[in-house]
């Protein structure tokens, strides 16, 4: 009960920073845009597995582009409104672009990510016209660029909520952003780790990448919120997002295939791919992370050691999950490697959180009384 109270109580008389409404609304629109994009991406993956034939204008692709469009237009709108705004400048660290446009960092990053996404989507169209639509042949240059651009959009969304964190709903927004970011980051982290760690004998490179994702997102929210509730809340939002996508993607794939007269493949069993895209055990790890933080706060154990430990736990969870699923690996070697990567990502998450907290502290504050 105390926990629920702590998460739901209004902030009382704590000082509340002034953040322009355009940035608050912008953060929620970034979340909407990225969630739309993620739904399209997961649906597209399910489509490639269960049905196969593809073109640039399929419904999953359209959702993907719509999500990117929402992110791009949101960033453009916030930058223009910030540029034309009267009164005190925004407290969010900003950059002046082309000596004219005032761009708060999260929306500059998001705009660049969306632009990159659209450019790489164009090159992806060319790629598929030339080579066809077999996406099992390995990572393509255009998919690599798309994955990294989308990762930049994810970073922007998390930055936008990291700056807020003033009210209950904004903190839930951060927890939700962390939940969708955890699932969505699998693409870029998986591709990059395959590129970097392919030479390591006995190690499944993708497992290292996904272990890094869990370690980074969990330690980030631990560092941003510095309490046990919100890592646990991020586990809850992850559970909701993964569950909803697991229900949606196979059903939507079957419906869409019927609608456009495409037969399902012989071996399409309707198995939700998103359930193996990232460990379903992650919410338990998020809960464990919350427990470790609660213990550390009570015992006065330093946070750097704790975020590294959280990273190690997230990494080990990933290796064991994929080992049980039958992914080829030397378990001992992979556990050692993923623990090292997880600890490093835990440290990185804390460092990024320290910077992002500073982001939200630079501006003027006002005090509200509940």
């Amino acid at each position: 009960m105390t926990a629920i109270k702590a998460m739901t109580d209004p902030p009382g008389s704590a000082p509340v920073r002034d953040v322009p409404r355009r940035e608050v609304a912008g953060a929620w629109f970034l979340l909407l845009g990225y969630t739309t994009l993620l739904v399209g991406m997961v649906w597209d993956g399910q489509w490639h597995g269960d049905v196969g034939p593809d073109n640039f204008w399929t419904a999953p692709h359209l959702l993907l582009y719509t999500g990117t469009g929402i992110i791009g237009l949101t960033c453009l709108t916030v930058v223009l409104l910030s540029t034309w705004a009267r009164g005190p400048a925004t407290s969010t660290p900003s950059v002046t672009v082309f000596r004219t446009f005032r761009a708060p960092w999260p929306f500059l990053v998001g705009g660049l990510g969306a632009s990159g996404n659209l450019l790489y989507a164009g090159s992806d169209l060319w790629w598929h016209e030339l080579y066809g639509f077999d996406i099992a042949a390995g990572t393509t240059p255009s998919h690599f660029g798309l994955g990294l651009s989308i990762q930049v959009e994810i970073i922007a969304m998390v930055m936008a909520f990291a700056v807020l964190r003033r009210t209950r709903s904004e903190r839930w927004g951060l927890a939700l952003a962390i939940g969708v970011a955890t699932i969505g980051s699998t693409s870029a982290f998986g591709m990059v780790s395959e590129l970097i760690f392919d030479w390591l004998p006995g190690v499944a490179p993708r497992v290292l990448g996904l272990g890094a994702v869990g370690a980074l997102t969990l330690s980030l929210i631990v560092g941003l919120t510095r309490g046990w509730h919100w890592p646990a809340a991020a586990g809850l939002t992850f559970l909701g997002v993964q569950g909803a996508l697991a229900l949606f993607a196979p059903a939507a794939t079957r419906w869409y295939a019927d609608a456009i007269g495409q037969p399902m493949r012989d071996y399409a069993a309707g198995m939700p791919q998103v359930l193996i895209g990232f460990p379903v055990t992650f919410p338990l790890i998020a809960l464990a992370a919350g427990g470790v933080v609660a213990w550390a706060v009570r015992r006065g154990v330093g946070p750097l050691r704790i975020t590294a430990a959280v990273g190690v736990i997230a990494g080990i969870n990933t290796a064991i999950f994929y080992n049980v699923l039958g992914v080829e690996m030397n378990l001992l070697v992979t556990l050692l490697a993923v623990s090292a990567v997880g600890a490093g990502m835990g440290w990185l998450g804390w460092q990024c959180a320290a910077m992002l907290r500073r982001f939200g502290m630079t501006g003027a504050t006002r005090t509200v009384t509940a």
């Binding site: 490639h48 597995g49 269960d50 049905v51 196969g52 034939p53 593809d54 990159g116 790489y120 090159s123 790629w127 030339l130 080579y131 066809g132 639509f133 077999d134 996406i135 099992a136 042949a137 390995g138 240059p141 255009s142 690599f144 660029g145 990294l148 510095r226 495409q262 037969p263 399902m264 493949r265 012989d266 071996y267 399409a268 198995m271 791919q273 550390a296 706060v297 330093g302 946070p303 750097l304 804390w350 460092q351 320290a354 910077m355 907290r357 500073r358």
Partner: protein
């Protein structure tokens, strides 16, 4: 009468010719552009059809596999050995496997035959498709060498360079930014409060 007899003979010939053609109508009409016949160990045959020919490395196509006598009551296996010797050369997102072999599914648009749709041979050179067909009379095996010629488009190294180049300045900017914010990160107390 002679004309009538001639017409009858002509019709008979045409119908006789058309009969087997209908029965052996190739799958994916209008899409198959090339067919190969594999002699199996039990002296039967396997017809392998392609929607693109010649096959270019990395370019997607559909394959169909049709053993003489049909697929009913049989299980088809194919091991795709790449030119570099990888016995799991042909990848698939959710293909069912038995060891290194792919358990052949029915082709989604031609369910009377086995098939693989939207797949590519990722490596240039000569591939070996090793077939096994299991049925009531035992297992027959056969091998089909398939040549994948040069991939279309620019060399892969060039495509990768073009795709990765925009990220080089991003990596530099992130590294510089990380260095410049060191003071901020160091000044943040490593504590749960604050």
């Amino acid at each position: 009468m002679a004309v009538g007899a001639a017409v009858t003979v002509l019709l008979t010939v045409l119908l006789t010719a058309a009969g087997p053609a209908v029965a052996a109508a190739p799958p994916l009409p209008g899409e198959i552009v090339h067919t190969e016949t594999v002699r199996m160990s039990d002296q039967s045959t396997m017809t392998v059809s392609f929607t693109k020919w010649p096959i270019r490395a990395l370019q997607s196509l559909d394959f169909t596999f049709e053993p003489a006598g049909g697929i009913e009551g049989r299980t088809g296996l194919v091991t795709t050995v790449s030119p570099s010797g990888d016995r799991r050369g042909l990848q698939g997102i959710v293909l069912e496997r038995r060891g290194d072999s792919i358990v052949l599914p029915r082709h989604p648009r031609a369910r009377q035959v086995w098939g693989l749709d939207v797949v590519s041979l990722p490596e240039e050179g000569t591939w070996r498709f090793e077939f096994a067909v299991e049925g009531r009379g035992g297992t027959s095996t056969g091998v089909l060498p398939i040549r994948a010629i040069e991939q279309p488009g620019p060399p892969l190294a060039l495509s990768w360079t073009v795709a990765l180049t925009p990220w080089a300045p991003v990596a530099v900017l992130v590294a510089v930014g990380w260095g410049r914010t060191r003071r901020i990160r160091k000044s943040a107390p490593p504590a749960w409060s604050g």
